[in-house]
Symmetry: none
Subunit: 201 residues, 2 copies
């Protein structure tokens, strides 16, 4: 990966700062560390490095820069280059940003397991039989999240979760199926769905 002298300095600063403090620097701190007087310059450097896939960051989030370790960047086994967007009838967007995607982006450091989906109860949600849902173990859920829930301790289902007065509504995403209403006490949440993985042969 081509990198300029200045870019290497920026990258080195980020690495050192994070190692020293345990958290990433703000743009202000980067600027003073590199002798820059404008945050715009810092921003441009970060953007360029991100485009080259040398670091990850979250938009608009404070101190969200992660330097991508070089070994991990190369080990393409489970981290895929994200080459752009594709839309019906339109060219792929400028294939350049060396972003990547992997399961770790979805699961982070949470406790996650997978379940193979059978049946069509989430068809309208575009989750179909054979898909794997990635589920974070959790006892609770927020309004509208997709959850794995046990009703009366025995029936595990994949549904959207809603409160409705004293009852809980478990809403299948299939117009042909009816929601389940149950008192809060008899519903136990097993986890909530973070993502879906599908495989074609």
């Amino acid at each position: 990966m081509a990198i300029t002298r200045r870019q290497k300095e920026v990258l080195d600063f980020l690495t050192a700062f994070t190692a020293r403090n345990g958290y990433s620097p703000s743009y202000e701190e980067i600027a003073s560390g590199l002798g820059l007087s404008s945050l715009a310059t810092v921003h441009k450097h970060i953007t360029n490095l991100h485009a080259k896939g040398l670091l990850q960051r979250a938009q608009n989030r404070s101190r969200s820069i992660d330097v991508v370790p070089q070994r991990a960047a190369r080990k393409a086994a489970d981290r895929l280059p994200l080459l752009g967007r594709i839309a019906a009838g339109k060219p792929v967007e400028a294939i350049q940003a060396a972003e990547t995607i992997s399961l770790s982006d979805i699961i982070g450091a949470r406790e996650v397991f997978a379940l193979e989906v059978q049946g069509d109860s989430m068809r309208d949600e575009h989750i179909i039989s054979g898909d794997y849902v990635l589920v974070e173990r959790s006892r609770t859920a927020r309004e509208g999240e997709i959850v794995v829930a046990l009703v009366d301790g025995s029936d595990a289902t994949l549904k959207r979760f809603y409160h409705e007065g004293n009852l809980i509504r478990l809403q299948p995403s299939n117009s042909e199926m009816k929601p389940i209403y149950a008192p809060a006490g008899s519903v136990s949440i097993q986890g909530k769905v973070l993502g879906v993985l599908r495989r074609y042969n």
Copy 2:
């Protein structure tokens, strides 16, 4: 994992307190330990750290915070235990089997990249806007496979691939859209779809 200075302070406090006392602090104790006067602030910190996967907790339970050890957080991030199958209205098969699933199962040793899908041309295939398709780089495809194809060198699309006499038919999976017919010479296959990855927030 990106973290702010204050968040690191909170995390450090939690780690130290738990190590010292053998149990986790109450919000009250966290507040006084960090010099905060509102429990709401404590709660916000805990919620943020939980969202970043750096600690576990049980809702509404006293002293239920667990700091996730960093080694465990980094480890196993790309291979998930496959706990069983889930079907509408039926219990999860209580599998403790050590089956797992990961991106590598889909990718194998092939050269694969990802594209973010925009638009609804594959809606009936349950691939929706925002999904990532995992694409194997390939010049050819077999009948009926989902491919990324360039027509006349400029239009990249996601379609099912069929031969039809001398022509190639690129079939969208959306009943409202019409197939594209083109001579074999003007269609170039960029790759074929091996899988789909979707993320919920």
